[in-house]
Amino acid sequence: MSNAFFQGRLVRLSSEDPLVMAEAFARWNQDSEYFRLLDSDPAHLWSAKKMKEWFEKDLDSALPNNLLFSIRTLAEDKLIGFIAFDGLNWTNRDTFVAIGIGEQDYWSKGYGSDAMRVMLRYGFTELNLHRISLTVFEQNPRGIRSYEKCGFKLEGRIRDFLLRDGQRSDMLHMGILHSEWDSLEQEWNKI
């Protein structure tokens, strides 16, 4: 059986044992540049043990509104990041998507965009979502460009959402509708 459903051109989405994921997160979160692009919470260094407990709890939740995948390269099967649907709302058929490429060597090379396209296909064709949403900080132009490439449109700007190093900055809302993704997917498949 082919696992093409979870496979892109550079990466595949996979699932890890809680310990593997926790150790990767504990390693990546020590990169403060990575963490600050990822989260509005103050930087925090949690132990692998504590994060393993959280991932284990996710395993036990019966009806998930949170779906987490690891991102592995096709070439070397290297674990480079994660992607997740967070806050799936089945009534509205909407979810937020979060992505982090923890290994900086794999930034700006198309791995994140590839993983996002696989995730969009999964969300629209398997979960039957109506739209997929995300938020991104204005100081993350790499992320914004990647999301635009994947078809996300800018939907607004939450002013002064972050306070860092004494500076206020905005958080952007982006979204893609199922109908918009349909026509893009046809384009991508031609390439």
């Binding site: 509005s40 109506h130 939907e155 700007r157 959402f161 979204g175």
Partner: protein, 188 residues
């Protein structure tokens, strides 16, 4: 003007605590109105008095444990009658942000300025006492009374999440409104 209790008292309403004895039957009645959906539950459904009693106890417990939620009842200054619920939630003290939500329960109590009065109290509380820098409020694009009320208090539409919410048989845009403390101060 009554300055003795001005933190919680507006022109028409006051912010009050829950009354776990008397409030549940009133709030349970409100849940029969789908317009009231957003304040307690995500999807419109009528709740029994017992369900509301437990929900409100959970809210107060959450307030005690998480410290990032402030939940109020809205009561008329005249006779202390419960007319609505309000909360500031998802408070992030580190960035100085929070989200505001309020609802007037009975249709006959709407359009009397109670909500508007309560909104101004909550804004003042958030900026002057919680030391927040900005407030958000989210609502479906069909909720014109709330949008107009929020705009009157200085909120601006910051984001329009297209077709992000489904009710009454169709998708509606989800509006994210925002108010900055710096703007709110200028207005006062």
């Amino acid at each position: 003007m009554d300055n003795t209790n001005s933190l919680y008292a507006g022109r028409l309403v006051r912010l009050g605590p829950l009354d776990h004895e008397k409030d549940p039957p009133v709030v349970a009645r409100w849940t029969n109105d789908p317009l009231f959906r957003s304040v307690l539950v995500d999807v419109a459904r009528p709740l029994s008095v017992e369900a509301v009693r437990r929900l409100l106890e959970k809210v107060e417990k959450q307030m005690e444990e998480t410290k990032n939620l402030f939940h109020f009842t809205l009561r008329l200054k005249d006779d202390n009658r419960l007319v609505g619920l309000a909360r500031i939630f998802w408070i992030d003290f580190h960035n100085g942000t929070g989200v505001l939500n309020l609802g007037i329960g009975e249709a006959s109590d709407r359009r009397h300025g109670f909500g508007s009065d309560a909104l101004d109290l909550l804004v003042r509380f958030a900026f002057n006492d919680l030391n927040l820098h900005r407030l958000s409020a989210w609502t479906g694009a069909d909720n014109l009374p709330f949008i107009h009320m929020a705009e009157k208090s200085g909120f601006e539409i910051e984001a329009r999440r297209r077709e992000a919410v489904f009710h009454n048989g169709r998708y509606w845009d989800m509006l994210h409104l925002g108010l900055l403390r710096t703007q709110s101060e200028k207005k006062q």
